[in-house]
């Protein structure tokens, strides 16, 4: 454990250097995250004649800008990295190193956060400029946002890791993740705020883990919850993180037994 604590900062430094080296490509990836703005366009047009389901134009702007912010800050791409390395056989090299491959990947993904922050600054500026009145006034909610964002990122990363281990048995897991992404886009509140859905869909979305990846941090920023509710939801989010953590360990161990390193 202490060894990992000693190694991890170095891994983060390496990951950061990599992100800086590929900065142009990195920025282009960031800019292709524009779905919240596409959705904002239609809702802003719909709310021109008056609020829709309690959302004014300004409220929609606040929601989707916050959603964009959460998405930018909690990105992970480990599933593609895993499928590629498994297919090319380079995973074998990683397995030989004295540190768990998932830890290395997590460092790579986390090390990009400062670069993501640079892209996020203009979004924050626009959010403050356009919809300041819609944001939470309670400092505690903003404090809770930090563990909430970390939890959201962990959920995203761990789901990708679990699906990535499928590639240890079959050639590719990318399609599986694509399907998961489709459901996630709807049930996490990425495309449509959850409270605008019909009752049945909303009830389903509130139980499933998807909302903790996006909707919950966004709702914190918008001050939708009282302190007590926000804390309860944070606990629920981290319960899901623990569950996914456990599932990742199991999936990784059993998957590795099936792994036959080709190529390399």
């Amino acid at each position: 454990m202490t060894r990992i604590l000693r190694l991890y900062p170095q891994l983060l430094r390496t990951g950061f250097a990599e992100a800086v080296a590929y900065r142009t490509e990195f920025l282009i990836w960031m800019f292709s995250t524009n779905m919240p703005l596409v959705m904002l366009a239609i809702w802003a047009a719909a709310a021109r004649s008056g609020p829709v389901g309690g959302y004014s134009q300004q409220a929609f702007a606040a929601y989707y800008l916050a959603a964009l912010l959460v998405r930018l800050m909690t990105g992970a791409w480990v599933v593609w990295e895993m499928t590629m390395e498994i297919r090319q056989g380079t995973l074998g090299l990683r397995l030989l190193r004295p540190i768990h491959p998932l830890l290395q990947w997590s460092a790579d993904n986390l090390a990009a956060v400062p670069m993501r922050g640079i892209v996020a600054i203009p979004v924050v500026a626009i959010l403050l400029w356009v919809a300041r009145a819609e944001l939470a006034h309670d400092w505690l909610l903003w404090l809770l946002l930090c563990p909430a964002l970390l939890g959201a990122w962990l959920l995203y990363f761990l789901v990708q890791a679990i699906i990535g281990t499928v590639a240890l048995r079959f050639e590719s897991a990318a399609s599986l993740f694509d399907a998961w992404l489709g459901f996630s886009n709807i049930l996490s509140g990425y495309l449509v705020p959850l409270d605008l859905f019909p009752h049945a869909v909303r009830t389903l979305a509130l139980v499933l883990p998807f909302r903790f990846q996006l909707s919950y941090p966004v709702e914190l920023m918008l001050g939708r919850w009282s302190r007590g509710e926000a804390l309860e939801l944070l606990l629920a989010q981290w319960a899901y993180v623990a569950l996914f953590w456990f599932a990742t360990r199991v999936a990784w161990r059993s998957g590795l037994r099936h792994y036959a390193a080709y190529g390399g």
Partner: protein, 262 residues
């Protein structure tokens, strides 16, 4: 004159044959395409659950726009993007030399070199969306409107193709930006809405600079019988100009291309 067509046909046949070897992938990816059509529909259903019309567009009219969007997204991600991504790969590896040496126009050779045939699901999905839309409107589109829409569709595909060619031409100059095509794909997502929901600078940008209006809004208007003749003529002229410029840029960057590997 017939030669380019023969080249295209041979190229198409080869690409489809290659892709059809992976039958399981065909089924899986086809199902995924269906799922994503559903995902595309959800926001529209929620919006029109709360509103009768948005920016002057009713639900069935908006469905027609979305139908064109789904169809064109299928064309873009099923043929243009995979083929042109291969060009970027060629540039990086230096294997583009072999393509350039072949006795046919290089642009023709690369444009359809890789195809994902399961994206026909998108075309089928678009057909179903049109059927629902016109069922709700209560009347089928008039024959001359269908013809005009077909002409507009040709323009749309040509513009889409030209933009993709320009994006790839940039890759010749700056090899590093190989994900520029993904950026364009994500910007194309805006074309799911009719251009009139935008106002001010964005409306101008999406009509003239990046002609997303030309791709989905005009074919939809044509099918609905609402496209005026001057607009249609301007759209065709604009498309031809755009394609001509794109061809020029492609030729210029081919001329500047110095093989990467050797």
């Amino acid at each position: 004159m017939m030669r380019p067509l023969r080249v295209v046909r041979a190229q198409l046949r080869a690409s489809v044959a290659i892709a059809l070897q992976y039958r399981l992938e065909f089924a899986v990816e086809g199902a995924l395409a269906l799922l994503w059509i559903g995902v595309t529909l959800v926001p529209l259903l929620v919006v029109f659950g709360a509103r009768e019309s948005v920016a002057g567009w009713t639900f069935p009219e908006m469905l027609v726009v979305l139908g064109w969007f789904v169809a064109l997204k299928g064309v873009l991600e099923g043929t243009l993007s995979p083929s042109l991504l291969q060009v970027i790969e060629h540039v990086r590896k230096g294997t583009l030399d072999f393509v350039l040496l072949k006795p046919a126009d290089a642009q023709l050779l690369v444009s359809l070199s890789k195809i994902e045939p399961w994206r026909v699901t998108d075309l089928a999905g678009a057909a179903v969306i049109f059927a629902i839309a016109f069922h709700r409107l209560g009347h089928p589109p008039a024959a001359h409107d269908v013809l005009l829409a077909a002409a507009m569709l040709c323009c749309a595909v040509l513009v889409l193709y030209s933009i993709a060619i320009v994006v790839v031409s940039i890759a010749f100059v700056a090899v590093r930006v190989d994900n520029l095509l993904y950026l364009f794909q994500s910007v194309f997502d805006v074309a799911r809405w009719p251009s009139s929901i935008f106002r001010g600078v964005l409306a101008f940008l999406f009509t003239f600079v990046l002609p997303l209006a030309l791709m989905t809004t005009y074919p939809a208007l044509a099918l609905l019988g609402k496209l005026t003749v001057p607009t249609a003529v301007a759209a065709v002229a604009g498309t031809l100009l755009f394609a001509w410029v794109a061809r020029g840029i492609w030729k210029a960057s081919i001329r500047r291309y110095t093989s990467a590997s050797s």
